[in-house]
Amino acid sequence: MELIIAAIIGLLTCCGVFLILRARTFAVMLGLTMLSYAVNLFIFVSGGLTAGAGAVLGKTETYADPLPQALVLTAIVIGFAMTAFLVVLAIRARAELGNDHVDGQQPQEPR
């Protein structure tokens, strides 16, 4: 299970970083979202992976670390808000600057 989770986190991070390095706001936004998914998964498993363990004491034999679950909830909420803000800002930038390049101008074609 560890291997699968680690591979998923790695893949998400990989895609996220690749997309962030694109120079268009929409791709960058998708990249940031993927990166934050990866980060959220990473936080979620930072307390260790256990199967069949609840976060509430006394309900199951063993219990899972509840703190990362609380942390990841907070991180998800904040991530949503930030993405929403970024979407609005990107639309505004597209309107003001006339294109969706992150630097606000189309790069020159190489001659």
């Binding site: 706001t25 940031l32 307390g47 800002l89 505004r92 930038a93 600057l97 606000g104």
Partner: protein, 496 residues
Amino acid sequence: MINHLAILPILVPVVFAALLLLPYFAVRLQARRLLSATGFVLTLLCSVLLALHVQSGTQLYLLGDWPAPFGIVLVADRLSAAFVVLSSVLMIGGWLYSCSRDDTQEPFFLALLLFLLMGVNGAFLTGDLFNLFVFFEILLISSYGLLIHGGGKNRIRAALHYVLLNLVGSALFLLALALLYSQLGSLQIADMGMRIKQLSQSQLWIVQSAAGLLLIVFGLKAAMLPFHFWLPAAYKQASPVVACVFAMMTKVGIYSLFRVFTTLFGDDAGQLAGFGQNVLMVTGLLTIAVAGALLLASADLRSIVAALVLMSAGTLLSLLGVGSIAADNALLYYTVHSTIATGAMFLLVDIISTQRGNLADRIARGRRLSNQLLTGWAFALLALAIIGMPPLSGFIGKIQLLQAVQGNPWQFVFWGMLLLGSLLVLIVLSRAGSTVFWRLLPGQSNVNALSNWQWAGLAWLLACLFGLVFAAEPLLQYFAAATSEFSAPLRQGGGD
């Protein structure tokens, strides 16, 4: 009441900011001003009270009354209280200035300022690393809103870069948090400081990589060398009040570096002791060098002040790399001084450019300003303070800095860079000042759109600078007590 003092600098701004969002205030300028004034003054009052109160001992505020390592704590000691006072002081300057123009244009401007104040104060007061992240996000999202205040092409472009960089920074911060939690099993800074001594050899490199990530994240906020690219553009494009209060933002990074790294990687942290000090020293010095180059290349006053912010950030970063008590004392005084001085300079530059009409803040010959005498004197005073010449606080700050690195292997490099940097500031500011104020075209500028609010904001910050000189002795004692209390073993975990 006195027991809840520690949370008031966070609670007061957020309550007033939330009230300001009500539709009632969106259409009533006077009511909005009155309410925000009350908010800012009350916050300052609470912070000052807190700063006085913590002299009798560190206050731990347990949110929800969960016992110390399990719940979230606020830690109010001299260090955090001093920074909270500083942020409120700067915000009041910005608020006074904003009454001239910004708050009439945009009903929620003042609310955003108050949210920013809440985030900054929270970041200073929190004793929990995850909570630090949350407060970072609060201050960041308010700063995003403030940065695009006023709109315009260049501002949007600068804001887009700033937002994207900080979002990546937040992702890295979370990664670092998760790594640290997986190894240490705690996110309360003081508790982590104790657990870090019991790490096994195999865990060390994981914690090291997490600490490296944290260094990047805080370095991004503090505009440390490879991550400084956002600063000049953002500060140049932000509206003047926003630039003024942003003078606080790099200091949040410096403070977090100081607080977290001193606690986690103090002298008793075994193999991790002094983690990052050399990196901080070298990148700090290089940041000063880059800021010097930016200073020389500046064609307008705003860019000069932005480069000054970068230079003070570089100075503080390299001072963090020294890691001695004397250096920490110097760091605190210089932080306070440079925050207020650069904030005031941003306001003054706007006062100058308002009077020069179309010429704005470009360093070029123009006509005599309509209020030449007062503006000129204010510029001269602030320039003296920033360069570090007597009689203003910059002099005391710089002397402290120079003395603090004595005996450090980097001593002479640091002295050289710092003095060379000051020389550059001296040259650039004299050139700018003499061009703007003395090399005049015939005639007088007829633009006189200055309001008393603008002068009030500037006067408040200047008065605080003078206060820093007159109260230098008690302040230095306060800071000395703050650092010695801070570096005492098991400082926060012991409870009170």
